[in-house]
């Protein structure tokens, strides 16, 4: 039976490293190649030994697809491509291609420079890896090869995030990556058409969550900022150039306007340039509101938000500053942090995850004394706030997505099967589809039922219709006989046997079986035959029985002849002959049945008894 195999790679049940292997229609595809941010050793990489024990992965994979730029989805990419070895195509959307290398380089710098690791990918490896990338546009079908095609769909979540549709022949899989079903201030909601994939693959972690509204998260942000400003404190918000920064700026601008606040808000210039540049490039990836704003004016032209100058950090009084980089690991945000950390009136708001080794990570773990360069210690007295603004789907969102795509099967990765029984039951009940939950390293095999389109010859169709009976119906299939001809590995044609033989230039042969049955009957041959004829006619009503002038009785297609035995004229020999199509027959003679076994050869007749 045709089947699709799905294996999430990696050790343990942990969430945090996405890398899924899919085998479909003879093709092998890797979905995402993430790094597990919680481990320092090899456990942070996916377990590629599942594919091959040693050697390059190129021969084993037809392509690799990256869903978005978060490190738990692309962090292991340079390692896999340049250190393990893979030279095949790597697909990702344009924004992902632009942003990935920046994050990977930042990540590399932190890991090697701050943490002193040696066996890690280099800057050159990141560059070499990105050369293998083929960018994707939304809703555009891309032929990876003659048989494999992929298509990207909008996933929301972060700029450039995509859900991916993979098709080989009539089998298909959709992988969601990270997505969200409710639009936020700068991104739209995920969308996919009713593509009816054989399998829809999604994360299970969000399936058991009910998310707090984005308004409440925003409220918390505004409350914290306002409280700090009111007591004369300074607020530092380290951000990556895109996405959240803009959203938070819009939020603060609206709030400042509403409350008539006077404290200055700044963003570092590096931020503006990068952000504007990216948004110009990827305007189609943001939502309607942003697009409208951008058309009217510059992204960062706010009434209350101004460009930052280094010297402002020393100004007295309250202020808010957006500065890069996002994890406080270097640059302007770190400089400002060092100046403001000693005052308990001040605040730093971390709007996202921080990689191990960064100052951001340390303070989010409660560290209040930091070791800086030259053995200097920094006392962290300011308030540290961790806020998560990332847009993820939840339990309700997953159900909505399933309703949109109408998959035949559901597969959830990164969950503990025992803890997901309820969700599995819910999906199975509501949609009447199977829900699979493989553990990392475990393969799930899903049997598919691909339909193979076949053309039927007009003659054959007419002939079948002439037989009468109900019209063929998807719910009530009808058996028919024909010959399937496959031309050039591509087209299928169903024709009548005669036409097939003609096309092949063969003569038709018929198989007939014969057997002899002995009877004792004193009558003449002709009389015996006639008696058999009348007897059969009375016993087998509803069957076509003919008595032909050439001395044969025909029951449907079974031919009966009578002749006398050479030795004894009272012994009659019945010759029975039937064609291959006749499965079973039962001979009624004097009310006693004589049967053939279905499919039996003429030598193995079972004759129950002779009168």
């Amino acid at each position: 039976m045709p089947e699709i195999k799905v294996t999430p790679l990696g050790a343990g049940q942990d969430v945090g490293r996405s890398c899924i292997l899919v085998s479909i229609g003879g093709k092998n595809i890797m979905l995402d190649c993430g790094m597990h941010m919680g481990y320092n050793d090899d456990r942070r990489f996916p377990d590629f030994s599942y594919i091959t024990q040693n050697g390059r992965l190129t021969d084993f994979l037809d392509c690799l697809i990256i869903s978005h730029f978060h490190l738990d989805h692309c962090g292991a990419l340079p390692y896999m491509s340049e250190m393990v070895g893979y030279d095949g195509p790597i697909y990702m959307t344009h924004p992902t291609k632009a942003i990935c290398p920046i994050l990977l380089e930042d990540f590399r710098k932190i890991t090697v420079d701050k943490k002193g690791e040696t066996n890690f990918f280099t800057s050159q490896m990141i560059k070499d890896c990105m050369k293998k990338v083929i960018p994707l546009n939304l809703h555009q079908t891309v032929q990876v090869d003659d048989e494999l095609e992929i298509k990207a769909y909008y996933a929301g979540h972060v700029l450039g995030a995509a859900m991916v549709h993979i098709k080989v022949g009539s089998e298909s899989v959709v992988y969601t990556g990270d997505y969200n079903m409710t639009p936020d201030r700068h991104l739209g909601a995920a969308w996919i058409d009713k593509c009816r994939p054989d399998i829809l693959i999604s994360e299970s972690t969000y399936a058991t969550t009910i998310r707090d509204s984005k308004r409440c998260r925003e409220r918390d942000f505004l409350k914290k900022v306002h409280e700090s400003i009111e007591r004369g404190g300074k607020v530092l918000i380290p951000v990556f150039a895109l996405g959240r920064a803009q959203e938070l700026c819009i939020l603060l601008e609206t709030f400042w306007e509403r409350m008539n606040l006077k404290a200055p808000i700044y963003f570092s210039t590096g931020l503006t340039e990068k952000a504007n540049h990216y948004y110009k490039l990827f305007i189609t990836w943001t939502n309607q509101k942003i697009r409208k704003t951008f058309v009217q004016r510059n992204m960062f032209e706010f009434k209350h938000i101004k460009a930052f100058d280094r010297s402002y950090a020393d100004n007295p009084g309250p202020m808010v500053v957006f500065a890069t980089p996002g994890m406080l690991h270097a640059g302007q945000s770190l400089q400002i942090f060092k100046k403001w950390a000693g005052n308990e009136k001040n605040m730093v708001i971390m709007p996202g995850y921080c990689v191990q080794g960064t100052i951001g990570h340390k303070i989010l773990n409660g560290q209040r004394k930091l070791e800086m360069e030259g053995r200097a210690t920094l006392d962290v007295k300011l308030q540290v706030e961790y806020m998560s603004f990332s847009a993820h789907a939840d339990a309700k969102g997953i159900m909505q997505l399933i309703r949109m795509a109408e998959p035949r099967n559901m597969l959830l990765v990164h969950g503990e099967a025992v803890k997901m029984e309820f969700l599995k039951g819910k999906i199975e009940q509501e949609f009447s589809i199977d829900c699979y939950m493989p553990a990392n390293g475990e393969t799930t095999t899903v049997t598919t039922n691909p339909s193979v389109p076949v053309d039927i010859s007009l003659n054959l169709l007419k002939r079948e219709m002439a037989l009468g009976g109900p019209l063929p119906d998807p719910k009530k299939p009808r058996t028919m006989h024909g010959t399937l001809i496959m031309k050039e590995n591509v087209s299928f044609m169903l024709v009548s046997s005669e036409q097939a033989l003609k096309e092949l230039g063969l003569n038709e042969h018929q198989l007939r079986f014969t057997c002899h049955v002995q009877l004792q009957d004193p009558h003449s041959d002709a009389d015996t035959l006639h008696r058999i004829y009348t007897h059969l006619k009375s016993v087998l009503k509803g069957y076509t029985i003919q008595h032909l002038p050439d001395g044969t009785v025909i029951v449907e297609s079974i031919v009966i002849k009578v002749s006398s035995s050479a030795e004894d004229s009272n012994t009659k020999v019945l010759l029975l002959s039937w064609s291959y199509q006749v499965k079973t027959w039962t001979l009624f003679l004097e009310g006693l049945p004589m049967q053939s076994k279905p499919g039996s050869s003429p030598n193995h007749l079972v004759i129950e008894s002779l009168f």
């Binding site: 969550t209 009910i210 409220r219 409350m259 706030e385 025992v418």
Partner: protein
């Protein structure tokens, strides 16, 4: 288009106001609305659907950020976790957790039979039906009220009308006690005020107090009003001191009467509550605050939960102004059907955190909120 922008504006105003009026605020949207909110532990609640056929029972764990006291600022986790879930064949109108167990009992509001559930443990996330308890009535307009015995082996007190009230032992199904009375008044509340003493509030406003240890007839306190079409709901404060054991009764016309448990008919205090649509309500919930003296909460008249300080009430019924109003459900519900405005279906207080409540509404929203006492605004933020 205009309506959307207008709607967004109203929301913004309320949210901005909320910066000062709430310490914490969380807003969630369930797939299906719930009429029940029941604590199953200090940090988890049960909710359940009430549509005609199949529904879900969910056990939700409260967000870590809400409960974290020391490291609140370093915790970004604001979401509910669905820790356990199960399916029911009918609506769930009443859900009671049996203290000290992983067991819950429900009633569908159509008969007085009860369903018994295992909420699941570490090994599985499935809530399973383990049995049922037969009630007296196969058909009932409002269904049964249920109360779990606070201590002792798992036992439930239940009944659809006052004459049906019985105490059933869960393990054996045995009836340990029956309330001896002929009255057929339907019940609107049933609760234990001590391990053996319980209070049964009838829809007509009369209240019975009885002890499960004796077969003596219950004490009866008549309804504060003889008006026929008025429905009453009751709650008793189960305080540690007998003196703090008070009972409040609220009517569908917004009348509120407080009396002492030991002297229900005696002089207490009263008020006319400031409810939006008196008369149009079916799901009224009235509750004493577990740790704030004299405070009560009321919901079900509209999309608002109101908190009153009964200490300000006098012997004569006067109009009372609420101390605090949670308008979140009314303000943030998106109305598709204007004929049925969103109303709050249930609310509960956190047993320990003084001003933390959970409320649920007919549009499927569930809010968790920690309100600021308006009289203490500007003071230090200690509970």
């Amino acid at each position: 288009e205009m309506e959307d922008a207008e709607f967004e504006d109203i929301l913004d105003d309320w949210f901005i106001e909320s910066l000062k009026t709430y310490k914490d605020l969380h807003v969630y949207q369930l797939e299906h609305p719930t009429q029940v909110l029941e604590w199953t532990s200090g940090n988890s609640v049960c909710v359940a659907g009430y549509s005609q056929s199949k529904n879900e029972i969910l056990e939700l764990r409260l967000p870590l950020k809400l409960l974290a006291d020391e490291n609140k600022s370093l915790c970004a986790e604001r979401d509910f976790k669905v820790s356990h879930g199960g399916f029911t064949d009918g609506p769930v109108r009443c859900l009671t957790h049996i203290p000290g167990t992983r067991c819950a009992v429900t009633n569908d509001g159509l008969s007085s039979d009860l369903q018994v559930w295992d909420l699941g443990g570490e090994e599985s996330d499935v809530i399973r039906r383990t049995g049922s308890i037969k009630g007296k009535r196969s058909a009932s307009e409002r269904g049964s009220r249920i109360a779990a015995r606070p201590s002792s082996a798992p036992q439930v007190l239940h009944g659809a009308q006052i004459s049906d009230v019985q105490l059933t032992e869960l393990a054996s199904g045995e009836t340990l006690y029956k309330l001896e009375t002929d009255s057929a008044d339907p019940l609107s509340s049933l609760q234990f005020v001590s391990d053996t003493v319980f209070l049964a509030g009838c829809c007509n406003g009369s209240v019975y107090v009885a002890d499960t240890r004796t077969s003596a007839p219950p004490q009866l306190s008549h309804s504060p009003s003889s008006a026929e079409s008025v429905i009453w709901w009751t709650d008793a404060a189960a305080g540690p001191h007998p003196s703090s054991r008070r009972v409040i009764r609220v009517s569908s016309s917004g009348q509120a009467v407080v009396s002492d448990l030991r002297n229900l008919g005696g002089a207490g205090c009263q008020a006319q509550l400031d409810v939006q649509t008196p008369g149009r309500c079916s799901q009224v919930k009235v509750s004493w605050a577990p740790t704030l003296d004299d405070c009560i909460s009321v919901s079900g008249f509209s999309g608002v939960v109101q908190i009153y300080n009964t200490r300000l009430w006098g012997a004569e019924p006067q109009e009372a102004r609420p101390l605090f109003e949670h308008r979140g459900h009314a303000v943030s519900s998106q109305q598709t059907d204007d004929s049925v405005p969103t109303f709050v279906t249930s609310h509960i207080w956190h047993p320990e955190r003084p001003r933390t409540l959970l409320s649920a509404a007919s549009d499927g929203s569930v809010h968790v909120w920690d309100w600021v006492d308006p009289n203490r605004q500007g003071g230090s933020p200690t509970p």
